[in-house]
Amino acid sequence: MKRETDYGHTLKAVYTPKDIEGFDYERDLADPGLSPYTRGYYPEGYRSRMWTQRMTAGLGSSQDTNKVLHKYREMGQRGGMCVIADRPTALGIDSDHPIGRKEAGVLGWPGGSLAEFEELMEGIPLTGQSITLLGSSAHSMIRLAYVFALAEKRKVNIEEVHGGVLEYPYGSLFGQDDNQPLDLTMKLFLDASEYAIRNKFHLRAGILSQHFQESGGNNAQALALEMAMLNEICSFLVNERGLDFDDVAKLPYELVSIGTRFFEEIAKIRALRRMWVKLAKGKFKAKKEESCRLLISVHTSGRTMTYQQPLNNIVRTAIQTLAGAVAGCTAIDNATLDNAHAEPSALAARMSLNTQHIVADETGAADVVDPLGGSYFVEYLTNQVEEEAYKIWNKIEELGGMSGAIKKEYIQNMLREEIIKKHRQFETGERTIVGVHKLVIPSEEDFKIPIQEVQASDSENIARRMEELKKTRNIPLVKEKLGQLYNDAKKENRYNLMPSVIEAVKAYASEGEIIGVIRLARGLSYDPFKMITCPFDF
C-alpha cells in the first residue's frame, strides 16, 4: 500500500518540529481573521456564521425540482439553495431540440427559459438565503438574467440577492457538459462578470477546481489550477475591462472537492487561503482586506462514492464533511451514497444533509476555529501542497497562463495522465478502497438502495412545454429583442451583451435562441450540433 499524498509525496511515520523548521506563527498562520488567513476568515469561526448546509437539486421538470427544493428546506437545508441545470441547458440547446428532447431533465433542471426559472422558484425566496445555480459557463449568463428578471418581477432589490450564479469558462476541459468554444465562453463570462460587478450585484462567479479534481486530478494540481484560473480571470477583468481589483475580488468563489484523504484535504484549503492573499496583495495590490478573503465552498467528492456496498459511502461523506468543517468553509454540499448508481434519491439526500448536521451539532468541530492549526503534520502538509501547487502554477504561467496552457494541451494531458495513473493505482492495490479491493462481497449480498430512475417520457413532456412556450409568448417582441442581441453581438468583442441578454430573457426568448443568435453573429452555426437553423432572420 502506498503511503504518500494523493499527489505522490512520500509520508513519514511521524512529524516533529523539525518538519516545519523556520515556522513563524504570525507570518505563516496568524489568528483566525488575520492575514494570511491560513486559519480562516472569522475570529469566531462557525460561532459567528455557520456554514451553509445545502444539497444540489435538479432532476425532471422545473415543478419536480421545485418540490425537491421545498423538501430540502423541510429536511434541514440551511442558508442556501443549490440547483444544477440539465444537459441540454448546459449545452446551450433547448429541450425541444432533436437531441435536447431526449435528455431534458436528465442530470439537472431544465433551465431553458425564464418561465422555467419562475416555476423552479415558486414559493422559494430570493433573499434570506444564498442562491447557487450551476450548469455551464455560457448558460450562466442567462441564469444571471433570470435572477435579475425575477427579482424585478417580485420587486426585490437585486442588491439584496446573494449567492453564486455565474460559472467559469473552462469547464469543458474537465468533463463538464459544456461545448462552446473557449473564446466564446470567456467573452460571455467576462461580459456577465463585468455587468454584475459594475451593478453591485452580490452574485458571485464560481471559479471551480471541483470539476478538475472530480475528473481525477490531484490536490496539488487542483490548487495550482484554481490559482491559475483566478489569476487569469482577475487579470482580464482588471486589465481588459478596466475594473478595480477590490471590486473584482468580490466576484469569485471557489468550490473545492474534498476526498477521503482527510489531512491533505484540510491542508489544501488552508493553503488556498494563503495563496490567494499572496496573489491579491502581491500582484493585484489589493487595498481592502476583504479582497484577500476568497470565499470557499466545499463539495464532498462524488468520485469517491463506490458502486459496491453503497452504505460505505455514508461513512466516506461523513469523513469528508468533517474535513470540510475543520478546514473552514462557507458552504458544504454533499455527494450522496447513491452517486455511482443514479441521481440522488430522497433517502440519500436526507442522509447527506443529516451528515452535515451531525458534524455541525454533535462532533464539536464547529466550536473551535482551525482545530488542527499547529499540528506538525498538518502544517507540513499545508506547506507541501502549497509548494507543489506553485511549481505547477508557475509552469502554467510559463505557457501563457490558463488559456495558453490549454491551447498547448498541457492541462488536458496533465489530467489525462493523472486519471489513468489513479486508475492503475487502484487496480494494482497500491491504493485501497474498502468494498472494492478488500472486504468484497458478492453483489447478491449487497444492500439494495432505492434508485431514482429517469423516465424517457419526462424528457418528452419538458420538450413539449418548451414548444408550447414558443407558440404562446409575444413573438414579435422576442424577435425584436433577439435582433437587438444579434446586432450587439456583431459589435466589437468587448461590447457587453448582458443588457441585451436580459431584455431577451425578459421577453421569454429561450436559451437555445439566445446562445444561438450570439453564435450566429460570431460566425458560428446557430446550433452547436448543426441540426436546426435559426427560426428568425435578422
Binding site: 444537459r87 441540454p88 448546459a90 449545452l91 437531441i99 435536447g100 431526449k102 435528455e103 436528465v106 442530470l107 469543458s172 468533463g175 463538464q176 457538459d177 459544456d178 461545448n179 475528473s215 481525477g216 463506490t306 458502486y307 459496491q308 452517486n339 455511482a340 448508481h341 443514479a342 441521481e343 489525462r416 486519471i419 489513468i420 486508475h423 487496480e427 472494492v436 453483489s443 434508485i451 430512475e453 429517469v454 424517457a456 424528457s459 450540433f529
Partner: protein, 132 residues
Amino acid sequence: MDNKKRIKVIISMMGLDGHTSGALVVAQILKDSGIEVVYLGTYQTPEMIVAAAIQEDVDAIGISFHASNHFLIEEIIELLRNKGKEDILVFCGGTIPEQQIPKLKEKGVDEVFTPSCTSESIVEYIKSKIRR
C-alpha cells in the same frame, strides 16, 4: 477473415454527456491489451457512431455513460439492424442502475459493465466474444 487482424473497437460517449473520465480509462485499458481503439469522444449521435463503426470496420461499439439517458443506446442497435450490421457487438458501461441492466440487455445490448467491474473483465469479455 484474416486471423492476424487486430480486434477493433469504438469507445464513445453519446448524446449530451460530457463526463469523459470513464471512457478515457477504458480506451486506455483496451489499447494496453492490444485492442485497436477508435475513441470518438463526446457529443456523438447514434448516427455518427454507427457511421464511424461501418467506416472503421469495427468489431464492437462500447458506450460510456455517466448517469444519463441510457436508453439512447437502443437507437444504435436499431440503426445497426437497419444496415444489416447486427454482427457489431454493442456494450456499455458507467453509472447504470442495476435494475436497468436486464432492460438494456432485452433491447440488444450485449453486455453492461457497472463501476464495479475490473479492467480484466472488460478485456476478457471483448477477447472471448470477438475472434478475428
